[in-house]
């Protein structure tokens, strides 16, 4: 099956900017996959998502989303995607139902009617269904401003799903939500993904959210610095080592030289080692050690390390 998102050598330089916001980034997303785009603030995440969702033109490179080119056929792409923005994009002056109706009319799902009462039965049934999923059967005709942040987010996701998008873009969707709402949102999104096989494209800087992804692309300063499954990324960057030190350093070093082990220049000394080799190494060392620590980083350590590496280059 061809990938549902294909980004090839995408470069973006804003007008009047001296440097590129994105430099020749490439990645692919398979249909039905959960893809996470990670990066620090200002790394180019929003620029990337803007181009993929057709609100910004690329400077060069090719982007195909749901079989259409974002530059040549933006409106065909728009029909196939749903987007949850960083800031809630509900109209606070309208009721929940009016927000949903507006969306349905924009996507041409129903003909225009001036009020809810005049809308087709199929539409009303859809609204009922949405309201019961959210448990807001009574509040669906209330103004949005009376809703909590978590509820608004959920409504937005439901709204973005009514035109059955093949790809759902989420731009830092949980920013500003408390831990509870965040967890509820994710369990709901996972449900959606299983039921509708919607591809999910997420930008975030919460690592625990990315950890569930099938694939992660880390960008920094507009360049891809790491790309693969969470396991691959960890394996790629996770340097496992043990840290040792002794009161009598010269003696320890002499011993390490004799054992033919590489170590870092300054103490405490880092020794690259796989977990199963640790025991053997320690057994071989006779100098009394003052520090023995094994180091096996988390994805977060890995992420920070990748970013650090990229800023040194």
């Amino acid at each position: 099956m061809p990938p549902i998102i294909r980004v090839e050598n995408l470069t973006k330089r804003y007008k009047k900017a001296r440097t590129n916001a994105l430099t020749a980034i490439s990645f692919q997303v398979a249909a039905g996959e959960f893809f996470a785009l990670l990066g620090p603030n200002g790394s180019g995440k929003t620029t990337t998502i803007s181009i993929l969702t057709t609100t910004l033109l690329p400077t060069s490179g090719r982007v195909i989303v749901a079989d259409h080119d974002v530059t040549q056929d933006p409106s065909l792409v728009r029909q196939e995607i749903g987007i949850i923005f960083q800031k809630p994009s509900l109209d606070r002056n309208l009721t929940a139902e009016e927000n949903v109706r507006f969306h349905a009319l924009l996507y041409g799902l129903y003909p225009y009617r001036p009020s809810y009462g005049l809308m087709p039965k199929t539409y009303k049934a859809k609204v009922d269904e949405l309201a019961s999923i959210l448990g807001i059967n009574n509040e669906i005709f209330n103004p949005i401003k009376t809703f909590s942040g978590g509820m608004m987010r959920k409504l937005e996701i439901l709204r973005s799903l009514i035109h059955q998008p093949r790809v759902l873009f989420l731009d830092e969707p949980t920013a500003g939500l408390d831990a509870n709402s965040r967890r509820a949102l994710w369990s709901y999104l996972n449900e959606v993904r299983e039921q509708k096989e919607t591809t999910i494209f997420l930008t975030t800087h919460y690592l625990e959210e990315a950890e569930q992804a099938n694939a992660i692309c880390i960008i920094d300063q507009g360049k891809v610095v790491s790309y693969g499954s969470p396991e691959e990324i960890k394996a790629d960057l996770i340097e496992e080592y043990i840290l040792i030190d002794a009161a009598d350093r010269p003696k320890l070093l002499e011993e390490l030289d004799r054992l033919n082990v590489d170590y870092s220049a300054e103490g405490p000394f880092r020794i690259k080692s796989r977990p199963h080799q640790v025991h053997q190494l320690l057994k071989a060392i006779e100098t009394p050690l003052t520090i023995v620590r094994t180091h096996a980083p988390t994805l977060e350590d890995a992420y920070l390390e990748i970013l650090q590496r990229s800023s040194w280059n």
Binding site: T53, S75, S89, L105, L106, Y107, G108, Y112
Partner: protein, 258 residues
Amino acid sequence: MELSAILAIAQRDFTKLLRDVPRFIGSLLSPFILIGVLGGTIQSIQGDGIEYDYITFVFTGVLAQTLFSSAAAGVISLIEDRENDFSQELFVSPVSRYSIVLGKILGETLVALPQGVATIIFGFIIGVPISAAQLVALLPVMLVAALLGSAFGLVIMSNLSSARTVNTVIGFIIFPQFFLAGVFAPIGALPPALELASRLAPMRYVVDLARGIFYSGLPDSSAVVVDTPLTNIIVIGVLFILFLTAGTWLFVRSERNR
């Protein structure tokens, strides 16, 4: 589909106005202030030296001006919208950009109309002599004023890069037109430089059209009306088409090409 979207966009603007009570009341009050306070003050300075009824003169001017500038400001607000919450949803929808523009123009025209009605009611209250025939004739003029205003707003909006400049620009581009269009003082005999500036102010043509229609057949007509309604309508038609095509083209181009 596009028609449904246009109507939905227009309806949203109007619904928003109705829900925002302070804004709604404020918008209804602004003609009262312009006619009652500003008009009244200027009249007292001028004294009885003028041969036509000054309040009626200001009333007709403010009627056209209110519709024009309210619609223009409404469309310009689309750029403010673009940077916050809701219109992101609009811009990523498959609706054509032309439909977004048309929906917005239609919507802001609808939003401006209640102000026109409020102006007329205030006119009745302060005793401006309005006949039934004049009233009926003014209705299409109000629509024309609002439509030209929103098309004008579109051109301005397309040339702005950020919402921060909006308020400055509204003050800079709309306010001078109050005087260049002759809302508060006749523009029949202006010095050449001001005459040119006045001819360039689009609001002038709707104000003059409103007066041409209102004063039609009345003795004061020659003192307050500059051009014939036909001339004004032709100029308005040309400007409207020009603003609409140029504005939409610029808007569509600038939106993605950042």
